[in-house]
Symmetry: C2
Subunit: 321 residues, 2 copies
Amino acid sequence: MSDLLPYLESVAQEIDHMIDRYFVDKVGELNKASAHLLAAGGKRLRPAVVMLAADAVKRGSSTEILPAALALELTHTFTLIHDDIMDDDMLRRGVQTVHTKWDMQTGILAGDVLYARAFEFICMSKANDKAKVRAVSMLAHACADICEGQHMDMSFTHRNDVDEYEYLEMVKKKTGVLYAAAAGIGAVLAGGTVSQVKALYLFGLKTGIAFQIRDDLIDLITLAEKSGKDRASDLREGKQTLIMIKAREKGIDLLKYKRDLTDEEIDGVIKELTDAGVIADVKKVAHDLVEESNKHLSLILPSKERQLLMEIGEFFVTRSY
Amino acid sequence: MSDLLPYLESVAQEIDHMIDRYFVDKVGELNKASAHLLAAGGKRLRPAVVMLAADAVKRGSSTEILPAALALELTHTFTLIHDDIMDDDMLRRGVQTVHTKWDMQTGILAGDVLYARAFEFICMSKANDKAKVRAVSMLAHACADICEGQHMDMSFTHRNDVDEYEYLEMVKKKTGVLYAAAAGIGAVLAGGTVSQVKALYLFGLKTGIAFQIRDDLIDLITLAEKSGKDRASDLREGKQTLIMIKAREKGIDLLKYKRDLTDEEIDGVIKELTDAGVIADVKKVAHDLVEESNKHLSLILPSKERQLLMEIGEFFVTRSY
């Protein structure tokens, strides 16, 4: 993975540069609220997937579709701002969430502004118009799915009988489809064939699901100062994650921890889950998804970019932040 | 105006038919919440503007761009759902608002779903791809402006020194730009020239501002059972409307009514404003805008559709619901 981290770093710099140029230091409270979470960092993984997918289809095309790469980050950030309102989370990317720093009203609008800008930036890419229309449709379809995924996620909180199938369906919509759209949009804007676009879409979908499973693990395991989020917020909110589902299968009821926990108590929960094999089982589901996703890439000609896409999948399920 | 009302009725039927087909009777709570306000009626004025603008540019083209007409109604409805959350309004189109019938979380998501669908439907129109990309950009730009307009509107509530210029700027963004986009998108998808698109855009912008000024009057004057909204909600919420600004210029402070009022008390306020000439002044601003908007239409060849657009402008500032 020696090439991946420098690559991700270079993408992050390009995206940060565009964010500075188009979003930071604008006048007006709403512009500041829209820029707040965008400018607070973030790994810019979805833009990296857009650009790698484009270059995997046609080397060099990624520089022409940078606005679309930014569009995916804008979309992701809009969903975070709205999700934070819905879940009433206080901390994100190490800073106060938008509705906490401003108010609920401004949070809704700040998200809505980024939502609009995402579609504007898709249209600003250098690509043929047919590809742009296809990209707009893919992004719009992903956004509708994300809403459904978030709604499923919230509805799960009132239940203790969610099974692995339902969980994976929710995560597919909540997280998978945006990675799928990232890869698909990169491919389509670069002029990819139908089968190339489909292959990259499915690659994104499966690695995206794996990404979320890892995210759930990180929520539990990583200390707040490293993740920039409240630690174990899923446990506190009684979220139905794959960890909770696999734990239940082994007779461990994580819902009893639906309250504030100390770091020591969380460490105790982790030990219990590790000893019961829950953590290993959850990791295996994520790894299997990445393995499947790599099979889709076999339809793409070998290249440095295809290799980096495979490494991104691996990174998704091994990262600790 | 003998032709306009039957025309609006026929557009409403076409749009209602599409809403039934694509949004009503879908399974799942989120789909029901997304469809709730859409299916509760509404005058479908923005779709009518899309279709008339298209036919004014190229007769017969409106049937090919019906999905874009629906897209404007979806966009309008998404903004209503989010606005109702921000203002915590209970009643809209004669039914409970989405966040009242469900909850704030579902309201945010229901709006976000319609937002996405709007862009999907724009892309589903029969038009060339370049025009579609232009239409997507126009809609996205309008959405960002609407957010800014709503934010300005909310920020005005804490002030009692908003002047007419600021008010008109706010209304331009909050309401004008979506009518502008409606007319502009209709024109661009129908293959209009740059000057035709611009003329229709400006027509929509000015009639849209006039529409909102009339809406503020209706909020005050029309009984709840007719308007389907809470009566005098602007007064109760201390909204800075042109009525309040013109009243202040004449020494009448409407902010003192920032509470629940009986129908008799509201009638008393209306009499006071009428006697002072405030109502007439406000009506004049709206009528002048409609007159200006008609001048833009002189760049379009005379046709039945151009005539109907002029009648829509007139209708906007004379309607009582």
